[in-house]
């Protein structure tokens, strides 16, 4: 897995003060995409153990409180990204059960594969769906077009998709 950007302090991708990782690789190729440079999974910087450790350390920073981790891209649920992302979200939840994880994906909740669902178990807020240019609305919080949803994941949502 490669990543394009990492913001150790971020306030525009999810509620509160966050750490945000933009990974490479996306197969949706939505027209009008804000981050088209992130489509190619070979772009960016290789994501490694050191990066994972850094994210974990930043989330635990005692000087600047973080409310959680945001995963965006690209698509964190792009097939090649799943193993790296799963490892990361598992570790975040294990080390900081009180911090939340937000994840942006172009897939809809209903069309997730099993492997993708496995990741979503560790996610608190999922913003799903492709970006549709004709449904663009800049005033929407946390998403670009009106078809995209903010889904607060709980046990019931998980059961529904299984």
């Amino acid at each position: 897995m490669n990543y394009l950007q990492y913001y150790p302090i971020d306030v525009v991708n999810g509620e509160g003060t966050r750490c945000t990782l933009f990974v490479s690789g996306c197969e949706h190729r939505c027209k009008g995409c804000h981050n088209a440079t992130t489509w190619d999974s070979r772009r960016g910087i290789p994501y490694d153990q050191a990066m994972e450790d850094r994210i974990i350390a930043d989330l635990g920073d005692s000087r600047i409180q973080r409310d959680g981790l945001s995963l965006s891209g690209g698509d964190p649920l792009f097939p090649d990204n799943l193993s790296g992302i799963l490892k990361l979200v598992k570790r975040v939840k294990a080390e900081y059960p009180d911090k939340n994880i937000w994840l942006w994906t172009g897939y809809t909740l209903e069309e997730l594969s099993h492997a993708q669902q496995e990741v979503v178990q560790y996610i608190d807020v999922l913003i799903d769906g492709r970006f549709e240019l004709d449904k663009r609305d800049l005033s929407l919080p946390w998403r670009g077009s009106i078809n995209q949803r903010i889904i607060y994941i709980n046990k019931r949502t998980l059961k529904q998709i299984k």
Partner: protein
């Protein structure tokens, strides 16, 4: 016949007796009696021009000078030359005055017209004010200020602020109005005797009237300290009145109380709505909307809480049918542990409202109670946008309301750094000299107010705004002594100063990255503070160190230095100097690190300071905004979050507009029509609406270069 071309280009026949007169007068000044000599000079000159059609007046004068110098009357020659020089300067300055006046009519002097983003120079009353300013400035420079002070100001070594008002007029800068004293004891305003109000509606209306009057008599900002506490008794009166009505018509006390509360809430909201409209529609005698600041937030009674909520809810609503962001009054919200900081505090709900308000309207800025007390000795709202009073007691009681600031003179620190050519020793020597100049300049402000009678500003001195009730013929100077008023040394451009002094030599990077340079920067500010402490000791006046907001000064000093020294890398090349101790606006750091960087300064510059962070639109993320506010609590006393939230009247988009070279643009519908948008940005301590009234060039450049801290 020979004709002379005069200085203004007009022509006049050559007139030898004029030369006789001029030379005779010079001889007379030098106490030399030799009338024949004057005749001789005139004749000589007449001979040389004879037969010529046109002669320039300067050639005539040069000949006269030459003839005198080559005679034995050297002293007379010197007198003649001095006289010529004096006349030349006078003539030049008369021309400068005419030029400035003309530029108001022609609207072509951007520096003059855009100096203050709050003044709309297109309209007649503002033009009258600008005209008065031009004349007052001119007169003060020529006839009131000592020559060397004027010269230092003109050269841009120091800046004598607000020359368009003082010292020509015996006016002071900014203040905390003693509204409580005025309303409790009654006062006279214009033709009316005002008694203690009997409702919040009347109290708010009277407050607006007082603001209008006071701001026409001073040139800086007017603040109301703890307006929630001051207006609370009138909220109670409104409630009592409604309760009485309720009891009369409903009978049932519980129901009547409920009715009275609801009615009072409505009245209170409406009263502050009216007050906000008043302030924003007012036009003071100074040709602008008054610079007004409301401080509030500490009160926990039902009445005080209601005042706080009413102010915030009105601000969140916005002005008029487009719900535009109001620029005034500036709102300053106090945060205190035990009152509103933590979720279990009684006013935590109001802090949430304040966060919502700040995300949408940029104000309120926040005052962190404990830190403010630590840095300035007591809690109070800033006068205007950032001027803070020190501690002052009367009869064993600390008082704030009715006190004021007498004015500011600022030092051009980067200039000294450039002149020092990298020598720290030279820098501190120069600083010593310029500090002396600044002190002399500040003393002229104090002297100007000496023996001024109270009647020049009855609202301030006779009717109680300054917390005193003097008789019209009493002298006002007493109330400025013993630290009751402050008078401030300002400074600008710590960032550029450090670059100019140590640039290129430090291997450890720039000011932000280098511990060593950080210490050196603080040392400069400490030196300034030590100087004002000495002056205070020596004179008894409340000298304080003030971090100049530099709305127009950031442009002026830099422009003058660029002219004198050319483009100096890291110093003059940007076209503006950085505000006081602030971090370089282009430095990309997170707001937490910026707070850490700036937090060391307010305790030295305790007479005036504010710290900012540049944020994206935060309407949807109040939690993150609260995180930053909370972080500042024990670090900086006074903090503003610049969270642009513009609105487009074409497509209803709300969020941050793009700043382009052709003005502001809606990111959704690309609307660029300045009449169909509301754009609000921080100018200095105040907000401005640059789509309708442009900032001065250097400030605009600074705004464009501001990087987000998140």
């Amino acid at each position: 016949m020979t004709e002379i071309i005069k200085r203004d280009g007009s022509r006049q026949p050559f007139d030898a007796p004029r030369i006789v007169k001029a030379v005779a007068s010079a001889l007379n000044d030098a106490q030399i009696k030799d009338h024949d000599f004057a005749e001789y000079v005139a004749k000589k000159v007449a001979n040389t021009v004879d037969g010529l059609e046109l002669v320039d007046i300067y050639d005539i004068q040069d000949q006269v000078e030459h003839l005198m110098m080559s005679s034995e009357h050297h002293n007379a020659a010197r007198k003649y030359i001095e006289y010529r020089q004096t006349r030349d300067i006078e003539r030049e300055s008369r021309n400068a005055l005419s030029r400035e006046i003309l530029s108001i009519i022609n609207q072509d002097n951007e520096e003059l017209l855009n100096e203050n983003a709050n003044k709309d120079s297109k309209i007649i009353p503002t033009q009258r004010d600008l005209l008065a300013g031009v004349v007052a400035r001119h007169y003060a420079r020529q006839h009131i200020l000592p020559k060397h002070i004027t010269a230092a100001h003109d050269r841009g070594e120091i800046h004598y602020h607000d020359l368009d008002y003082a010292p020509f007029f015996p006016m002071f800068n900014c203040m905390l109005i003693d509204i409580e004293g005025m309303m409790t004891n009654g006062f006279r305003m214009g033709n009316a005797e005002i008694e203690t109000p009997r409702s919040i509606t009347t109290a708010a209306a009277i407050t607006a009237q007082i603001i209008a009057q006071v701001s026409s008599h001073i040139y800086g900002g007017t603040s109301i300290n703890e307006i929630d506490r001051i207006h609370a008794p009138y909220v109670r009166k409104t409630f009592d009145k409604h309760l009485q009505q309720g009891m009369r018509w409903i009978g049932n006390e519980e129901k009547a109380r409920e009715y009275a509360m609801e009615m009072t809430e409505k009245d209170c909201y409406d009263a502050y709505q009216a007050l906000e409209y008043e302030v924003n529609t007012l036009h003071t005698a100074n040709g602008q909307t008054p610079f007004v600041t409301f401080g509030f937030g500490l009160g926990t009674s039902w009445e005080e809480r209601l005042v706080q909520k009413s102010i915030l809810k009105n601000r969140i609503r916005g002005l008029g049918k487009n719900c535009k962001t109001p620029v005034f009054p500036k709102l300053v919200f106090a945060i205190r542990k035990g009152v509103n900081f933590n979720p279990e505090d009684p006013n935590y709900d109001i802090k949430q409202l304040a966060l919502k308000c700040a995300s949408k309207r940029m104000y309120p800025d926040i005052l962190n109670y404990d830190k403010l007390v630590e840095v300035t000795g007591s809690f109070k709202t800033p006068m205007g946008c950032r001027s803070f009073l020190g501690v002052y007691e009367e009869d064993g009681k600390i008082i704030h309301d009715g006190r004021n600031n007498l004015g500011v003179v600022s030092l051009n620190l980067p200039r000294m750094a450039i002149e020092s050519k990298g020598s720290e020793e030279t820098f501190y020597q120069l600083l010593e000299q310029r500090l002396q100049l600044a002190k002399e300049a500040l003393m002229t402000r104090i002297q100007r107010l000496d023996s001024v009678p109270a009647r020049v500003a009855p609202i301030l001195y006779v009717e109680g705004a300054c917390g005193v009730r003097l008789k019209p013929d009493d002298k006002i100077s007493e109330i400025f002594k013993n630290g009751r008023a402050s008078i401030s040394l300002g400074y600008i451009g710590i960032h550029e100063t450090i670059n100019a002094l140590y640039g290129g030599k430090s291997t450890s990077g720039d000011l932000y990255d280098s511990e060593e340079l950080r210490r050196k920067a603080v040392a400069i500010v400490e030196t300034l503070r030590a100087a004002v402490n000495n002056w205070k000791e020596e004179t008894g006046y409340g000298f304080s160190l003030y971090s100049t907001p530099s709305e127009s000064l950031c442009d002026r000093f830099c422009r003058l230095d660029k002219k004198k020294f050319g483009v100096v890398e890291g110093v003059t090349e940007k076209g503006y100097y950085t505000n006081s101790f602030h971090l370089d606006v282009e430095k990309k750091v997170n707001p937490y690190d910026k707070v850490d960087f700036e937090q060391v300064y307010p305790k030295h510059a305790s007479g005036g300071f504010i710290c900012y962070g540049e944020y994206p639109n935060m309407v949807n993320n109040l939690k993150a905004l609260e995180n930053v506010w909370d972080y500042t609590y024990d670090k900086v006393p006074y903090y503003g979050t610049n969270t642009p939230n513009d609105s487009c009247y074409s497509c209803d988009y709300e969020g941050e507009f793009n700043a382009t070279s052709r003005g502001f643009e809606c990111p959704q519908c690309k609307n660029r029509d300045s009449d169909r948008m509301s754009v609000t940005r921080r100018v200095c301590g105040y907000l401005g609406q640059p789509n309708s009234r442009p900032f001065i060039k250097g400030k605009q450049e600074e705004v464009v270069r501001r990087v987000k801290h998140l």
